[in-house]
Amino acid sequence: MDLLFILVLAIFLGFELISKVPSTLHTPLMSGSNAISGITLVGALTSLNSEALNKSGLTVVLAVAAVAFATINVVGGYMVTDRMLAMFKKKEKAPKGAK
């Protein structure tokens, strides 16, 4: 029950945070949240525990694949988001020529 309670609060917080993101940044928002959903990496790492290794080879294969996919998300997601955000610059207004 505790976990569900936290889940609901997190969802509300998510709605609040995301509605404040301007539409200009919606693409970086998506790639950035891609990276956050790579948090599954933490889950994949905990699946690679000693118990799992002794149990069967299948769990190792599954967990290593999960680690690889989640790492793609984390590394690729943050790097591409950073690359994009670096492009968003505010330029000094060019002096307006008289017309």
């Binding site: 200009t24 693409t27 891609n34 933490v42 998300n73």
Partner: protein
Amino acid sequence: MAQLISELSKNKDIIIGICYIISAGLFIFGLKFLSSPATARRGNFLSALGMFIAVVITLWSKNVIDFKWIVIGVIIGALIGAIASRVITMTQMPEMVALFNGFGGIASLLVGWSAFVMAPQALTPVSNLTFIAVILSVLIGGVTFTGSIIAWGKLNGLVYQKAFLFPGQKFINLILVLGILTSAVLVCIPGVGGKNILFYIVIGGAFVLGVMSVMPIGGADMPVVISLLNSYSGIAACAAGFAINNILLIVSGALVGASGIVLTKIMCKAMNRSLANVLFSGFGSVTTAKGAGETGEISPINAADAYLILEAANSVVFVPGYGMAVAQAQHAVRELGELLEENGCDVKYAIHPVAGRMPGHMNVLLAEANVSYDLLVEPGDVNPTMETVDVCMVIGANDVVNPAARDDETSPIYGMPIIEVDKAKTVFVLKRSMGAGFAGIDNPLFFKPNTRMLFGDAKASVSALVSEFKET
């Protein structure tokens, strides 16, 4: 120091808990800083730092022992991720995000799967709840994975891009969903035999369902689909968190899930369609009967004449669409924009929320071309002052500037908020030919007396205007 470490080791759970809270906090600040382009990059860094802390603390915790396997997985993933993030062009961003959504989904599926393999087969009420979470993470993860692969294929042209419908589709989908649900429920009920088989049926069914749900959706509805799959990938991570009882996965997954839902809602609102309509109607698969059969004279213009009008203009609004991305015209557009500014003209870029193939697609392309972000405005900012705009340049956009959405109640897109370019003093429409837009609807804008058609490749047309400016 050694004593301190041994003392800390005894309280591992507390330390892990604290670190997870810090990570979640950093994710939240990361998203908060995305509220302005000025702070966004720092926010992304904070978010990455949060992820780093979470991963390091998880590795440190005693349960994880076999680093050999972890290193293999991490190196493969990091290499692919790093290379992909460097070589991708901004035009391809929707494809990359679609693919990454899919990877998030499959990762959650695999975590759920390995939790299933690990779970005691003799079920107790407690593990029963875990089973439900496992099934959910596998189901949502699987749908996200194959759905994203199809979306990716539709974006880069590997898969049929229009809505794909066939007779009996709804019936087959219904059978599929019922089959998955039955198997899923049976897996969760204690004492039912053949759980492994049933579990594989759920996985396979989820894969098929993902394909079936994205195939009927046309190319220009991809902003909605990608947002929705983004949300699914978060929900899958969340379910995986419940499956392995990890609170950080639950919170982060919920944040991503909420993010995707908000974006989906914005996209649907920008098209004045319900989510159900986008997902199930097969919009754009058939060319519907043309409303009033708009007729009238179209007035073409050449670059030399267009230049004369632009040269005299005091304010110009660019309205980019997917056509600009296809023609890779963003750099030429920025150059033209700068020349106009030097000429004393007020330049803005009006961007419709569904322009392009994903939310914010046009903004990123223009930012890449070095357009200052304060010049990028939303329809609501520019519409009220449209009458005072001298020239509106529509570059590769069609449906989002179609006045029929405002005036013609019989139009399929009636009610969709548009950028009211027809109210500007002069409208230039840069277009390859007189073909209809994605929705297959005639655009009365082309026949308005204040509209001039500049036919040809968008990049070539804009470059021609740029050279006109430079020559004089």
